[in-house]
Amino acid sequence: MKIIQIILLVALLLLFVGYLRRFRKPVIDKLLVSLLLLSGIVFVIYPELTNRLAHLLGIGRGADLIFYLAILIFGYIVLILYSKINKLENMLIELIRKQSLNSIDLQQQTDA
C-alpha cells in the first residue's frame, strides 16, 4: 500500500466520523454519505477501477473522473449551504422586524 492511500483512507474515515458526530441527519442522508465513503475507500484501494469507469464514460483517466465528480458534488454542497444561509437570513429579518415592531406601542406613538 502506498503512503498516499493510507493518508486518503485516514482522511476519509476522519471525515465520516466527523459527519456522524456533528450532524443529526435523516437515515437516507446517512445512507448516501456511507455509500460515498465506501466508494471512496474502494477507489483508494483499487485505483485502477476508476480508470475503467472513466473509459466507460469516455474520460481518459480515472483521476479526471474523480475530479469532475468532486466539482459537481461541491457545487451541490454550495447550493445547499446557500439556501440554508438564505433561510437563516430570512428568519433573522423576521425576528428583528417583529422585535422592533413589538417593542414600541404603535397606537400610543400615533396619538402622541
Partner: protein, 222 residues
C-alpha cells in the same frame, strides 16, 4: 384618511432632521425606520413627532421599508409613501403621487425622474446603469417603467397589503414590480425631481452594488 410616509434611514444624522421636518410640514404622519444606525439618527428622529421603529442591526433598505409598511398595516393606514432618508426627494411632491391614488385611478404610483422633460443631472455611467436596470426589470417582471429604480412611490391600501419585500437589500424596486404584476395592481408614473447633492451621491448606491442587486434577483427568488 391615514397617510403614512415611511422613511428608511441608515446613518443619516446630518440630514435626517431636515428630511423629516420637510415631510411633517405638509401634515403627513411619518414612520421612521432606523435600520440599525450607529450614529445619532435615532436620537434626532426621537425628538420629532414621528413613529420611530429601530432595527437592532442593519438589515438593508428593503427590510426597513417592509418594517415601515408592516407598521402602517398594523395602524390600518390608507396610503403609504416611500420616501428616501437622504434628502434626494421633494416632500412637496408627495401630494402629486397621492392624487391619483385618492381619486381611485390606480393602486400604486411610481415617481420618475425622467418624465419631467428636464435633463437629469446624473452622470453617464449612472444613466447607463439605470437604463440597464430598467430593461432587466422588464425581463424579470414584464413591466417597463421609465425610472425603475426610483425609491419615491405611493401605495393605496390594496397595494400596501399586496406588496411584501422579502429581499432585505436594494432589490425592492424589482420586487415591487413583480408584486404589481402578480396582483394586477393598477399603476401610474408621475414626474418627480431627484436632487443629486454631494451627500446623496456619497450615500447612494455604488455602481458595483447594481451587480450585487442583479445577483440577488437571479438567485434569491423565493
Amino acid at each position: 384618511m391615514k397617510i403614512y410616509v415611511v422613511i428608511p434611514t441608515f446613518n443619516e444624522s446630518s440630514v435626517i432632521r431636515e428630511v423629516i421636518e420637510s415631510v411633517l410640514q405638509f401634515g403627513y404622519r411619518v414612520i421612521v425606520v432606523d435600520d440599525g444606525s450607529f450614529d445619532r439618527t435615532s436620537e434626532i428622529a426621537a425628538e420629532l413627532p414621528v413613529i420611530l421603529i429601530r432595527h437592532s442591526v442593519n438589515l438593508g433598505q428593503g427590510a426597513a421599508l417592509e418594517t415601515g409598511m408592516e407598521a402602517a398595516r398594523r395602524l390600518n393606514g390608507d396610503f403609504v409613501v416611500h420616501f428616501d432618508g437622504d434628502g434626494q426627494h421633494w416632500a412637496s411632491e408627495i401630494q402629486h403621487l397621492l392624487k391619483p391614488l385618492i381619486h381611485g385611478e390606480c393602486d400604486i404610483v411610481f415617481g420618475s425622474r425622467f418624465l419631467n422633460g428636464k435633463p437629469v443631472q446624473a452622470g453617464i455611467i449612472k444613466r447607463i446603469v439605470l437604463f440597464a436596470g430598467r430593461w432587466i426589470n422588464y425581463a424579470l417582471t414584464g413591466l417597463l417603467l421609465s425610472d425603475a429604480h426610483n425609491g419615491f412611490r405611493a401605495l393605496n391600501k390594496k397595494a400596501l397589503w399586496s406588496v411584501h419585500f422579502e429581499q432585505p437589500g436594494m432589490a425592492h424596486a424589482t420586487e415591487i414590480l413583480a408584486c404589481v404584476q402578480k396582483f394586477s395592481l393598477r399603476y401610474q408614473e408621475i414626474p418627480v425631481h431627484v436632487d443629486y447633492t454631494v451627500y446623496s451621491k456619497r450615500k447612494g448606491q455604488r455602481l458595483s452594488e447594481s451587480l450585487t442587486i442583479l445577483f440577488h434577483l437571479l438567485f434569491k427568488r423565493n
